[in-house]
């Protein structure tokens, strides 16, 4: 019997006998952030139980564009992003899988003078803060790097050490490594209610009751429901960023291309397929895990691609989909301890750009939970900014 159980009073010990599963830490949500948190905690010796309502990587984590991007992040995210990039560079050592990660650079392209100004202003801001990972690229050099782009392109802002990885494979790799370290993953388990009683967390699910000392809310597009149970109301919106993928094409693109004033994320994968995203949104029903693609919006995205890359007109779209992601009104996530409860922590709301942050967020959560503090500046992400 674990130490936690032995320390319980008689009533609670009886509860345990009645098949209530206990753990030191319970993580709610089996996306990348939950799996990364579980992995880092288990690696440090903590007893971790992760509860996932569908299967690991089912939602945003498994179906995003896989962008491993430091480029043009919100200022608050930059230090975290740069720290995460260090982990990505050695991801194989961390999770025994290269996750399909390739360093190919990410570039925001300027279609017109207004875009040029936007990007140049950004560059100036970064330089003033001492950041050097974003660089201006002259139009001629953009065309040299990306021969298939429309020749009227006006330049670009590049982060050369950015790249892309396989999102589902990455999430799965973190999960498997976590399990190797002893973490317990339960899929198909939906959390209904969470309550604190006598210094421990009681989690009621459709698969029984679970108990822990620490609770971590990594519930993605449903995280507000968990937070609300403690009076921590967050204005989270469930959104469905849409993706299209083509059939395999001969290689014409190494860099990931992003739009500046128009939503676009455009990438050719190693297998030759081309991924088109950028942020046009589907209709979402988060209660039934259902999305419906909005073809009028997709049409706008297709138009953007065809204007920037004219040869893509004949590209064959073989599939489309939309993930269910949490969007916060200020565009940055909630990371950190609860504002009202002890031993409750949050990591959610990544607003369609959480994938690259997954590795570092797991480390941050581990540090917060096991040592009460983290080196990285997470104050801007505190949940209390919404109250």
């Amino acid at each position: 019997m674990s130490q936690l159980v032995q320390s319980l009073d008689l009533k609670n010990r009886c509860d345990v006998m009645r098949n209530i599963v206990t753990s030191d830490v319970i993580v709610i949500g089996g996306g990348l952030h939950g799996s990364s948190t579980a992995m880092n905690l288990a690696k440090a010796g903590a007893e971790v139980l992760l509860l996932e309502k569908n299967y690991v990587g089912r939602h945003a984590s498994g179906v995003n564009a896989g962008g491993v991007r430091t480029l043009t992040r919100h200022m608050a995210e930059v230090p975290l992003s740069l720290a995460s990039q260090q982990i990505w560079a050695n991801i194989q050592d961390h999770v025994d899988d290269d996750c399909g990660f390739e360093i190919c650079g990410q570039m925001r392209v300027a279609e017109h003078e207004a875009d040029v100004k936007t990007l140049r202003d950004r560059l100036a801001l970064m330089q003033s803060k001492g950041y050097t990972h974003e660089e201006w690229v002259e139009p001629a050099d953009v065309c040299k790097m990306i021969p298939s782009i429309v020749p009227t392109i006006k330049g670009g802002l590049i982060a050369r050490h950015d790249g892309a990885a396989d999102p589902y494979r990455t999430t799965l790799a973190f999960r498997r490594k976590a399990q190797q370290y002893g973490a317990d993953f339960r899929e198909g388990v939906t959390v209904h209610q969470v309550a604190k009683r006598n210094q421990s967390w009681w989690v009621d699910t459709d698969a029984g009751q679970f108990q822990s000392r620490v609770l971590v809310n990594c519930a993605g597009a449903w995280a507000d429901k968990i937070a609300a149970q403690f009076g921590e109301f967050v204005p989270l919106k469930a959104v469905g960023p849409m993706m299209l993928v083509t059939t395999r094409m001969p290689h014409f693109l190494e860099t990931v291309v992003l739009g500046t004033s128009r939503p676009l994320s455009f990438k050719q994968r190693a297998n030759g397929t081309v991924l088109i995203g950028g942020g046009h949104l589907a209709w979402v029903d988060r209660n039934r895990d259902v999305t419906e693609l909005d073809f009028h919006a997709l049409s706008k995205g297709a138009k953007t691609v065809c204007e920037l890359f004219p040869h893509m007109r004949n590209a064959v779209i073989s599939r489309g989909w939309a993930g269910i992601e949490a969007s916060m009104p200020d565009g940055i996530p909630v990371i950190g301890p609860s504002g009202v409860e002890e031993n409750l922590f949050h990591a959610f709301g990544f607003s369609t750009h959480g994938f690259q942050l997954g590795p570092v967020v797991g480390q941050i959560m581990k540090d917060l939970i096991l040592s009460g503090t983290t080196d990285l500046p997470i104050e801007p992400f505190h949940i209390s900014r919404f109250s």
Partner: protein, 102 residues
């Protein structure tokens, strides 16, 4: 090897439709699909797969298997079984990685 039954052959004689298949002229029946013309022309494989370069030919003849993809009049990824021949049509084998016109 495939052949036309006499009834179809008779229609070809009366109202031939001429197309080229990989540069070679083939006389067809008005109403033939591109895939059927390939078969009659002695071609079993119309493309190579983009994954392993394996040769493939039409499999379902009803537009759901996507194995019959060919290049028609310089447009790739056409389902041969769903397109009917037209005079002067240019039909070509589709190479492994699906070519896209620049």
């Amino acid at each position: 090897m495939f052949k036309r039954l006499p009834e179809a052959q008779a229609e070809v004689m009366v109202n031939p439709v001429r197309v080229t298949v990989n540069g070679m002229e083939v006389v067809c029946r008005n109403g033939d699909s591109v895939a059927s013309v390939l078969f009659v022309a002695g071609i079993l494989a119309c493309r190579d797969t983009p994954v392993k370069g394996t040769p493939r030919g039409p499999f379902c003849m009803m537009g759901v298997c996507f194995d019959c993809l060919v290049n028609i009049d310089d447009v790739p990824n056409q389902q041969g079984c769903m397109v009917l021949v037209k005079p002067g049509m240019k039909i070509e084998r589709q190479q492994g990685l699906r070519e896209v016109q620049t």
